[in-house]
């Protein structure tokens, strides 16, 4: 494995730390994207169909979350929660902040997809006598899913990238693990590049998974 001080040697030494960091990044991303998608489905439905006061409330949530930098959301959540003696580890604060952020973006994605389905589809479903939920489940959602996939995948990639911000509050995800490694061996360029490659792998996996799902919906044509 080469001499101490060479990249391969140091990478071998740091392999567990880096893989652990990558696992934390993947785990955090997964949890946040799942919760965020769930919030997004409900939020998007509210934005599109809810009665006025509720719709405004959700609109305010979405616009506020999208108007504030994620880092501010994270720091606000982290310091704010500790202030109220809610003992929540940095990981938990990160999940809360990123899920709220992800949920707002997904809400907008879902709303956009639903509103892009021609109203004639709703009318045809109404004419058959389908009620609201069945119209949504059988007619609107399958078509909207296809349209929301590309922007949802983009959002997912953004979330993976955003998890790096948790390094600021001390979550040892991939970026912080990389920096800790660099602090030991001073191989700045090599290890930052290595981290880039690992992020590329995660994001490429998401894109490919997304493309796979998209192909399953490819039969919907207009």
């Amino acid at each position: 494995m080469g001499e101490p001080g060479t990249f391969l040697y140091e990478a071998w030494i740091a392999r567990y730390a880096l893989l652990k960091g990558m696992a934390v990044t993947a785990e955090m991303s997964f949890i946040v994207i799942v919760i965020g998608t769930f919030i997004g489905l409900i939020g998007g439905l509210c934005l599109q169909y809810a009665v006025a006061p509720l719709r405004w409330l959700v609109r305010a949530y979405v616009d506020i979350m999208r108007g504030i930098p994620v880092l501010v959301l994270i720091l606000f959540t982290f310091y704010g929660l500790s202030l109220f003696n809610i003992s929540i580890p940095a990981f938990g604060a990160g999940v809360v902040a990123l899920a709220a952020f992800c949920g707002a973006h997904m809400s907008e994605v879902v709303r956009g997809a639903i509103s892009s389905i021609p109203y004639a589809q709703t009318e045809a479903a109404k004419a058959l006598g389908l009620g609201f939920w069945k119209r949504f489940r059988f007619v609107i959602l399958p078509q909207a899913t296809r349209r929301m996939l590309p922007p949802a995948i983009n959002t997912a990639v953004e979330i993976v990238k955003s998890t790096t911000l948790l390094s600021v509050i001390g979550v040892v995800e991939l970026l912080l693990a990389t920096q800790q490694t660099i602090a030991r061996n001073y191989l700045v360029i090599q290890f930052y590049l290595a981290a880039c490659v690992l992020y590329l792998i995660i994001n490429f996996t998401i894109s490919q998974l997304g493309a796979l799902v998209e192909r399953r919906f490819a039969y919907i044509k207009y």
Partner: protein, 222 residues
């Protein structure tokens, strides 16, 4: 119920720093947008080149940057360039350089889509009246593309502005950095982050509204 006594006097005492931090963020976003536009435009034209290695290089740049976390790029440039013996940049310049490169990748895609969406007839009409290839671009293609891409450019500017919060990670005294400083120095947690959030939101909305006006003035030719 948790009780928390608000005390905004800390904020008033640090008002200057908050506003300077906000101004710094806006300035860095704007400069990055300008440099990024130049990069994006050059790369968008580069993608249409017949020279395959150039196209591949630009593709690599775009995909690399879009799939790598911004914070990682910031550290990479800030700590990595000195490794190459480049010491010419201070924190702010280093951050602007990173954000511009980051913006450039996104804007390459925006401009490429813009160039692709220009109706062929415009170019043919320009040819028909005998404009030179350069004039065809500067007098016909670019103005039309500018109008088509204006909404995306507005969104990019707002994103970049929010991204300037990451400069706090390398201790650039912009808004997030100031808020964190006030937070740790005075323990006025809610006040500090609320102020930062409101300032970010207000600035983002002001930009959004101003740019929407601009968009309406230059409403895309249909």
């Amino acid at each position: 119920m948790l009780d928390y006594n608000f005390n905004f006097s800390v904020i008033w005492r640090n008002a200057d720093e908050f506003l300077t931090g906000l101004g710094l963020g806006l300035g860095m976003a704007l400069i990055s947008l300008l440099i990024g536009s130049v990069i994006g435009l050059l790369c968008a034209y580069g993608r249409t080149s017949r020279f395959a290695p150039l196209r591949a290089l630009i593709w690599l740049y775009v995909e690399f940057v879009r799939n790598t976390p911004l914070l990682l790029l910031i550290f990479f440039v800030y700590f990595g360039l000195p490794e190459f013996g480049i010491f010419v940049f201070d924190k702010v310049e280093s951050f602007i350089l990173t954000l511009a490169l980051y913006a450039g990748a996104y804007m390459t895609e925006i401009f490429r889509a813009g160039l692709n969406s220009i109706p062929k007839q415009y170019v043919e009409a320009a040819m028909a009246i005998g404009l030179t290839p350069i004039k065809r671009q500067t007098k016909v293609v670019l103005p039309v593309m500018f109008r088509i891409t204006l909404p995306s450019l507005s969104n990019t500017l707002i994103s970049l502005f929010k991204d300037t919060s990451l400069a706090a990670a390398i201790a650039v005294p912009e808004l997030t950095f100031i808020a964190r400083q006030v937070n740790t120095n005075t323990f006025r947690v809610i006040e500090a982050w609320l102020t930062a959030s409101v300032l970010y939101l207000a600035a983002a909305y002001t930009i959004a509204i101003a740019l929407r006006r601009l968009e309406r003035r230059y409403a895309a030719i249909r």
